[in-house]
Symmetry: C2
Subunit: 346 residues, 2 copies
């Protein structure tokens, strides 16, 4: 009953910087058969994320690089097609590191069964996936916001940033989003509830804009970008500020590291902290984050945007756009249109 | 019975960078009389410290700048000459922000009576003064060392650094000191008990030297300098490393901030923290630090070096040498030779 063919996106060249379509190729192979104890999953949604630059890089990083010739590493969500494990049945919705491909064979310990069947399956890759738990733990554990704090977020309309801004607002903070262009700052104000939004592309003096939006200084800066915009935020830290380094999307290469203004004096004069944060250090507590995030969604206190590209063939070129800021919301590749499959919750 | 004259070092010009003799003048005025509730102190020892660059600067900083024409701000220790406050008697040893001058009138709330009369009075300005409490709280609270951690210290033979290294060793850490020249690295190994010492002036490749001294990476970096040496240490952080920013002595001006390699990728890949630390945020707990430090001194587990200049006229030119690394140990100005005064403890 399964398709005869599994299309796979393979990494075929090692990018020097941001991965582009030319670094990948699509092949077609037979759909794999699960071994005893494994399941076969039909992927419905593939994730596209800035971290993929790191996953394919040989630079010192936090995970082993994807080998050349291998299926591109990716979170994906889908439905169990056949199972040789007693805990999974055909029809179960699951998510995991299933790769950029139509079908994946997986062992149960690498899968999560999706319990939030009242919410769209795609949320398992965004606001209830790594983006959401990154926002949740990065803000709470590294940012340590207190009610009344001013929290500034870069890529404020993005998959992680929009979630950070809304969690901070839900925690009683004043929130200021930095994003590029009126469409994104409009989203910040009207969809994500930021108290102020700064358009870094508008040609304003960024220092003046930050000072105006943050009259008492910046208590928490949740940074997804690094670079000149973040340099400006650093000049406005409040005493005791916490800077969460969650991504460096504005920097195209770290070999060698680009130069920027030294931060030591800001940190010393303001007794501030900069902390690198990776959600994967918090996997033991992901369930706690998902429960809180799902509850906020159901209460109408947490919303999200998705930027959907249709078809596996869109994947290879989809990373670059994240670095250019092309997307409005979480970028996803849709392989199966669930509208045609009927309702999910049973 | 007091001297008829109070010599004072006045700030007469605003330095652009490191304060030098030309920015100060010495005048002579009558010894002041204490008002009701005040005491008159004869200073025996004046402190000289890198932070004085900040104290005279108009740049954004953590204290209001010393006004032009005012006595140079400084910690000093001495003996009460006359008292119009019931809690202080002539002969009491005290320390406080008494300034670069022979005599100072002070209110009791700005003074600390020195209880450690079995230890030399000069320790109240170094290992039992701001240097010691900076090392104690900076290492423990911002560095958070665990037994077995590798702790790297810059200006490792200096007044703060030597104390950091020894506290870390007392806490069960492996300690690596970075200092300039064989005299200082010799002190590191032979006096301050570092497990390894790196001479950054020896022409070795610093990355190789750090990698050799820290085969498991750097868990804590206690940084007093900023600049290229610290940049090299950042390349060797272990996962979860803590970088304590305690000083920036290698940077001659912050207007504008100098450029350096961006740190965000190191922080992210290693989930590391950089934190600015000022001991003055911990004044409520200074007593705890002094007790622990004094106990270690008495047990022979904490030693210190002093670099003593004789006479008030040495003070104006004494700051620059700290930035050139001229001094071996805590730099002090001696105004009164206590050997000629007999024993202190009564």
């Amino acid at each position: 009953m399964t398709d005869p063919v599994n299309r796979r996106v393979l990494l075929t060249a090692r990018p020097d910087g941001i991965p582009a379509a030319k670094h990948f190729a699509i092949d077609e192979v037979a759909v794999p058969e699960p071994d005893d104890g494994q399941v076969l999953v039909r992927n419905h949604w593939l994730s596209v994320e800035p971290a993929m630059r790191g996953w394919v890089s040989l630079e010192s990083n936090y995970s082993a690089p994807v080998p050349l010739g291998a299926v591109m590493r990716s979170f994906a969500s889908g439905r169990v097609v056949s199972s040789r494990h007693p805990d999974f049945q055909p029809g179960d919705y699951v998510t995991g590191m299933l790769g950029w491909q139509d079908y994946a064979v997986a062992s149960p310990e690498t899968l999560r069964r999706i319990d939030e069947t009242d919410l769209p399956l795609s949320t398992s890759l965004g606001v209830l996936g790594l983006n959401g738990v990154t926002a949740y733990f990065g803000l709470r554990e590294a940012g340590r916001p207190r009610p009344g704090d001013t929290v500034v977020v870069s890529t404020a309309a993005g998959a992680v940033g929009s979630c950070v801004g809304q969690i901070a607002r839900n925690m009683g903070c004043r929130t200021v989003g930095i994003a590029g262009g009126p469409a994104k700052t409009g989203l910040c104000r009207n969809e994500f509830g930021y108290d102020a939004a700064i358009d870094y592309k508008a040609g304003h003096d960024l220092d003046t804009a930050i000072a105006t939006a943050c009259p008492d200084g910046v208590d928490v800066y949740f940074d997804n970008i690094a670079g000149p915009i973040s340099d400006a935020v650093m000049r406005h830290l409040a005493v005791g500020a916490r800077v969460v380094i969650c991504g460096t999307v504005s920097v195209t290469t770290w070999t060698p590291p680009p130069l920027g203004p030294r931060v030591e004096r800001h940190l010393l004069a303001k007794r501030a902290t900069m902390q690198g944060f990776l959600a994967t250090d918090w996997t033991d507590r992901f369930g706690e984050a998902r429960s809180a995030l799902a509850a906020w969604i159901r209460e109408g206190k947490l919303t999200y945007k998705e930027d959907i590209l249709d078809g596996l063939e869109q994947a290879p070129g989809a990373i670059g756009g994240l670095y250019r800021g092309d997307n409005l919301g979480k970028r996803l590749i849709r392989l199966v249109d669930e509208q045609q499959e009927g309702p999910r919750a049973e």
